[in-house]
């Protein structure tokens, strides 16, 4: 055995395999998954967002005015109708975010950590909430409570409820309902990864159940803040409620003002861009608050040593009261809008001035037999499959970048642009796409993609990427980095280590993210409306066209069939996962 004996050997090793300069250059510029990721992020997020937002400061840059630099586009945003709408959006966003987070946290705890009987109801219906865009939830309520709507036809007097619905209360309620599934899935996934040892530590040291719950809530902080950030961003950028309850109730919100700006002639792009920047600023403030609250604290709890949690056994009274809570929540969030949509879809004569109404399945029959009504569903399904796969792939990489231990530039960059994109209303995003991909220099590059399914898929992906990424961040942040390191040092390349280790650990959240993106895209309205290729309307446009033609029955029948189809896809996906995924993949997140 040769030892240095306290002296350091200082001669240089003859490094016979030192790489050549050319090889180093190739190494530096080779096509890696990260390079592909950054290229896609640049083209689908960064360029459209930056070009559109730049109009607010430099109208002349995009031929929208005479000034190279001006802040005058911001003046209308903070005064008059725009200012009021912005304030309304801010208040509504905060109420929806806090409300949705509290409800989601309580539901996650009941469903994952207790034996309350009604939890099976929640687990099987949570996706339905995701599937229904806010405009469909609002339309469900509208069909029930509007003048000469379903309830009035049934002989009920609902004017007081209608007055509440067509105002801030109704808007907050729908946005909160729409936010609950986002918040729930983020929190529930994090809770599944949280072993029971933390709770046990509190209990054995004299803490009550409530104190254990508080500790658990602290450990869930990243997901709680993530949930609130997502709901807040979704709420203030929502267009579905703006186009329904807000417009009917004359309670303006920022996105509705944007919509009006875009629909005015001539189109006022600079003010729309300025409003978008202001919305962005609001979301960024929320995220800054989130980061400040979490700074310097580690929440990595998922590792090979994590033991699954056991269920809390509720008393009889506990079971009754928690089940009652879940049932009431289901009725309010899902039952009423579903009843509104189904009853409207089966009611012949709704929307007309007829005094005679009948109930049957004629509207469904029309949808299934009409190519005009059926094809949008097929087209939207194809687009949703592509979008969900692409968006989840990118979101997985983005969430990995966002949860890396180092506060790198790339992390801050991804964080900023994903958040910026969350805050951008879909309709503005779509206009950004129209804007960018019609620009002369883009066409000069040979990118003639405006009006194609390709551009629509890119826009869908870009639109879905921010929220999909955010939903994975909580889970990705729980994975101990040493598990990936272990795979690398034991012979797997980065991609293989990812597939072998990271993917199985977040298989369930990945599946959920894929299903959410699929369902969200299937019924997406604003991007579809502005970017669909001529002759190929997606399903949301098909519904809008029917409703615009006062075919309430046909429109709501397409709506119901679309949601049922999305539920079928969800069911098939979970069946395949439970049937064919390796046992270890399924074990994570399951209960003992």
């Amino acid at each position: 055995m040769a030892l240095d004996g306290g002296l350091l050997v200082r001669h240089r090793v003859p490094f016979s395999q030192e790489p050549s300069g050319l090889k180093r250059l190739v190494n530096r510029f080779r096509i890696t998954p990260m390079a592909v990721f950054w290229t896609l992020i640049t083209f689908i997020l960064v360029i459209p967002i930056l070009l559109f937002l730049s109009v607010a400061f430099s109208p002349r840059l995009m031929s929208q005015g005479h000034q190279w630099f001006t802040l005058s586009s911001f003046k209308p945003v903070f005064s008059g109708a725009y200012g009021i709408a912005l304030l309304h959006s801010l208040i509504i966003g905060v109420v929806a975010a806090v409300g949705a987070m509290i409800i989601a946290l309580s539901m996650a705890w009941l469903v994952i950590r207790t034996n309350t009987p009604a939890r099976v109801l929640w687990n099987t219906t949570i996706f339905a909430l995701f599937l229904a865009p806010s405009y469909l939830i609002a339309l469900g309520w509208q069909r029930l409570f509007e003048q000469r709507g379903v309830l009035e036809i049934m002989g009920f007097s609902v004017a007081p409820i209608r007055n509440l619905l067509y105002g801030p209360v109704g808007i907050c309620m729908v946005l909160m309902v729409k936010g609950i599934p986002f918040a729930y899935l983020v929190i529930a996934n994090a809770m599944r990864g949280l072993g029971e040892e933390f709770e046990q530590a509190v209990r054995v040291h004299g803490g009550s159940r409530f104190e254990a719950f508080k500790v658990m809530a602290s450990l869930l902080m990243p997901s709680l803040f993530s949930a609130m950030a997502i709901v807040f961003a979704e709420a203030i950028s929502d267009f579905g409620v703006a186009s329904t309850l807000s417009s009917v109730g004359h309670f303006s919100v920022a996105t509705y003002q944007l919509y009006q700006g875009i629909n005015s002639i001539p189109v006022n792009f600079p003010v729309s861009a300025a409003t978008s920047i202001t919305l962005l600023a609001l979301v960024i403030l929320a995220i800054l608050a989130q980061n400040k609250a979490l700074r310097g604290r580690s929440f990595r709890t998922l590792s090979g040593r994590t033991r699954p949690a056991t269920l809390t056994k509720l008393s009889f009274f506990g079971k009754i009261s928690t089940s009652g809570y879940i049932v009431v929540l289901l009725i309010v969030t899902l039952g009423i809008p579903v009843f509104g949509a189904i009853s409207a879809s089966m009611l012949q004569g709704l929307g007309s001035l007829l005094s005679h109404y009948s109930i049957n399945f004629d509207n469904y029959s029309r949808v299934l037999h009409s190519r005009f009504l059926r094809n949008p569903l097929i087209y939207s399904t194809e687009m949703s499959l592509i979008t969900a796969t692409l968006a989840v792939g990118l979101a997985a990489i983005a969430s990995k970048v966002l949860t890396s231990a180092r506060n790198s530039r790339s992390k801050r960059f991804v964080d900023f642009f994903l958040l910026a994109a969350v805050a951008l209303p879909g309709i503005v995003f779509a206009i950004g796409y129209i804007f960018t991909y019609n620009l002369k220099f883009i066409n000069d590059l040979g990118l003639h993609i405006y009006g194609t399914s390709f551009l629509l898929a890119l826009a869908y992906t870009a639109n879905a990427l921010p929220s999909t990424s955010r939903s994975l961040v909580g889970n990705m942040g729980q994975i101990q980095e040493s598990m990936m390191d272990a795979a690398r040092v034991h012979g797997s390349g980065a991609a293989k280590a990812w597939v072998d280790v990271t993917m199985p650990l977040i298989a369930r959240p990945l599946l959920i993210a894929w299903l959410l993106t699929f369902s969200g895209t299937l019924l997406e309205l604003p991007v579809s409306e502005l970017l669909y290729p001529p002759g190929s309307p997606p399903v949301a446009v098909g519904i809008e066209l029917s409703l615009a033609g006062f075919d309430y029955g046909g429109g709501t029948a397409i709506e119901v069939l679309s949601i049922l189809w999305a539920l079928v896809v969800v069911g098939i996906a979970f069946f395949l996962f439970n049937r064919f995924a390796p046992p270890g993949w399924k074990r994570l997140g399951n209960l003992r």
Partner: protein, 377 residues
């Protein structure tokens, strides 16, 4: 080179390795050589850079500058970085890093994938590895169904199953209880030497380091303080930090009164003791005297002893360890085969060979001309 080293055991050469995290220098121009088939332990406190070093050897971290070579093969050199999976090594992690979605068998088998063995040979080797760590019946269990010690054994089996050329250990025993730690330490020592791989092990526990190592490197603030055989580190620490970090039972401040080669006489208040030094000292220098645990014993007849009172006594199986207080401070781990009651007055013999004097930055005032200075008994 170790006799049982296989031909593929790596010689690891690290030259000028530097790594910064912002303003923090984790490694600073670090040089190290590990001979093939030897077991090297890198010992240091938190923040000394040992984790960064072992992760850089593994390829998990990229060096800012400097180079690492395994034999003739360069794996990192000023911008060039070989991916971890191409380095043909294995690693045992502090938190085990077992994959929770795989069984113990699958965790171990994973490390064999790169060997492209047929299924039956792979199964045979995995079973053999699990058997060698005493877990032959635990193959179908998931990590959460195993105890902490069993999980770390699975991690050990995963590391050795592929017979890698280099084995890295990142404080693998720090999460285990004392008894388990000792048993696993022995297993790590024997299994590693059996397969003949070069081993690099990091720890902050000096007893672990001395028990395992062929050579020990002591790190501080990203720099190597000393690298040598355990015996040499213990007997001739290069500086006060190395001496203090490798085990002392007490320290006193004093002034050198006489220098005789590698031995000096130090005045502690009104008493003098003899001790060894590896640095050049002169009469009048302020020094810190560090006393190794092996230097002390309860005595009634030796010179170089100090009067003290027993503060505490603890039974250690083979005898008793006493904590005593003399007029210059507290000395712990004073061993005796017989117990001495708390509060008893005793004489503590201090062996000059295991008592080390280092220059002290703190100035100590002793009147060397005073006739009251008590000579060594």
């Amino acid at each position: 080179m170790s006799e049982n080293a296989p031909v593929n055991a790596y010689r690891v050469e690290i030259r000028g390795a530097s790594k910064h995290y912002g303003a923090l220098k984790a490694l600073n121009q670090f040089d190290l050589t590990i001979e093939p088939g030897t077991f090297t332990v890198l010992l240091g406190p938190s923040g000394s850079g040992k984790s960064t070093l072992i992760r850089s050897i593994a390829g998990i971290e990229r060096l800012d500058s400097g180079s690492i070579a395994f034999g003739e093969r360069v794996v990192a050199d000023n911008g060039f970085h070989m991916a971890p999976e191409k380095r043909d090594l294995a690693m045992v992690f502090q938190d085990y890093a077992l994959w929770p979605h795989m069984t113990a068998f699958e965790n171990v088998a994973y490390a064999l994938k790169r060997r492209n063995l047929d299924a039956s040979e792979s199964t045979r080797r995995v079973n053999e590895a699990l058997e060698r760590v005493g877990l032959s019946s635990k193959g179908p269990n998931y990590p959460f169904q195993l105890s902490g010690g069993e999980q770390q054994r699975v991690a050990l089996a995963r590391a050795i199953v592929g017979r890698p050329s280099l084995l890295l250990f990142d404080e693998p025993l720090s999460n285990l209880d004392a008894d388990l730690r000792e048993r696993l330490r022995v297993e790590i020592a024997t299994l590693t030497r059996e397969i003949g791989a070069t081993a690099c092990y990091i720890t902050h526990d000096q007893s672990e380091a001395f028990a395992l190592a062929d050579q020990i490197g002591v790190l501080r603030a990203g720099e190597l303080q000393q690298i040598a055989a355990p015996e040499e580190i213990y007997r001739s620490p290069a500086n006060r930090f190395v001496a203090a970090f490798t085990g002392t039972s007490g320290s006193f401040l004093g002034v050198v009164t006489e220098v005789r080669g590698h031995h000096v006489q130090v005045a502690l208040g009104k008493r003098r003791i003899e001790c060894r030094t590896s640095t050049s000292l002169k009469v009048g220098d302020s020094v810190e005297v560090l006393i190794r645990p092996s230097a002390t014993s309860l005595s009634h007849h030796h010179s170089n002893s100090l009067p003290a009172i027993v503060l505490d006594v603890a039974y250690r199986g083979r005898g008793y360890e006493h904590v005593v207080e003399c007029e210059f401070g507290v000395i712990s781990s004073v061993f005796a085969t017989e117990s001495t009651a708390r509060g008893s007055r005793v004489e503590i013999y201090i062996d000059p060979h295991n008592c080390l004097a280092f220059p002290s930055e703190k100035r100590v005032e002793v009147d060397l001309s005073s006739s009251e200075l008590t000579p060594i008994k």
